[in-house]
Amino acid sequence: MFAAENGLKGDPRLEAISRAIRVVPHFPKPGIMFQDITTLLLDHKAFKDTVEIFVDRYRDMDISVVAGVEARGFMFGPSIALAIGAKFVPLRKPRKLPGEVFSEEYVLEYGTDCLQMHVGAVQAGERAIVIDDLVATGGTLSAAIKLLERAGAEVVECGCVIGLPEVKGQRRLDGKPLYILVEPRDIDDCC
């Protein structure tokens, strides 16, 4: 669900967050309008507001785990974790985490990729959220949910800054609620 439909309709912070995101056409390949959050990170107030919106939502939900998807999920997840008193668990590409890991493969447009989580990072029964910058098909988030569930955690929600049209109208991903701040922008909307 989009934040604007869920209590934040007309919130000026969402407008500023949306405007701070840069659209880069034809990256990484022709036809893709890439939603670049690095410009959001340059806007201190908009970045702070982004984190605050997630923190306000999750602080009273008894969340003990914030899992962030490598690498852009690392830019948002830790600040949320720190503010709500949860631990931060990085979900990484293969061979990055030292020590014993769970692995979950997922399907890409061409081929497969794999997400990993440390064994022992999460205990059974913990309440977790997954954070990433953007959700498109939901393949990566699905893999993230599976990793947490294999460790026995309960995934309470997935939170993303941007939600692509594929997920518009969907309130859930694999049965888990999805919370999204803004829609993607077109190049023509750019200032």
């Binding site: 970045f47 702070k48 990072a121």
Partner: protein
């Protein structure tokens, strides 16, 4: 922090109080130093850099491996034990005269930190300090920083 042993920073992140204390120590050090840019090195620098940037009023700039940043970039190559690697920064992210920090989880040989500093200096920023959670002093990375100050919380031998 004295006496705290951890094998890698992921175990630090599992302890909310220890993670908070780590960030707070950096914030305390930098909050009155007029820092306008915190540059974090992919990927573990992305974990520590943004909280420091948010708490000190600075912007966060990710320094990334090749072909990850979508816009126009400047690139800095650096030498590895075997071969080379490359770090990139978006053009326009940092302006001349800005005061910057470079943040990473760990300094080993110093090659990556050096490349990061070069990127910032090439666009005219002033690198005030490099900040890392862990230093591996036996690898003498500190010497590779050309006299630029380095602040670390923990040494690991």
């Amino acid at each position: 922090m004295a006496g705290i042993m951890f094998q890698d920073i992921t175990t630090l992140l599992l302890d909310p109080q220890a993670f908070k204390d780590t960030v707070d120590m950096f914030v305390e050090r930098y909050k009155d130093k007029n820092i306008s840019v915190v540059a974090g090195i992919e990927a573990r620098g992305f974990i520590f850099g943004p909280p420091i940037a948010l708490a000190t009023g600075a912007k966060f700039v990710p320094l990334r491996k090749p072909k990850k940043l979508p816009g126009e970039v400047i690139s800095e190559e650096y030498i590895l034990e075997y071969g080379r690697d490359c770090l990139q920064m978006h053009v326009g992210a940092v302006k001349a005269g800005e005061r910057a920090l470079v943040v990473d989880d760990l300094i080993a040989t110093g090659g990556t930190l050096c490349a990061a500093m070069n990127l910032l200096e090439r666009v005219g920023a002033h690198v005030v300090e490099c900040a890392c959670v862990i230093e591996l002093p036996d690898l003498k990375g500190r010497e590779r920083l050309n006299g630029k100050p380095l602040y670390v919380l923990v040494e690991s031998h």
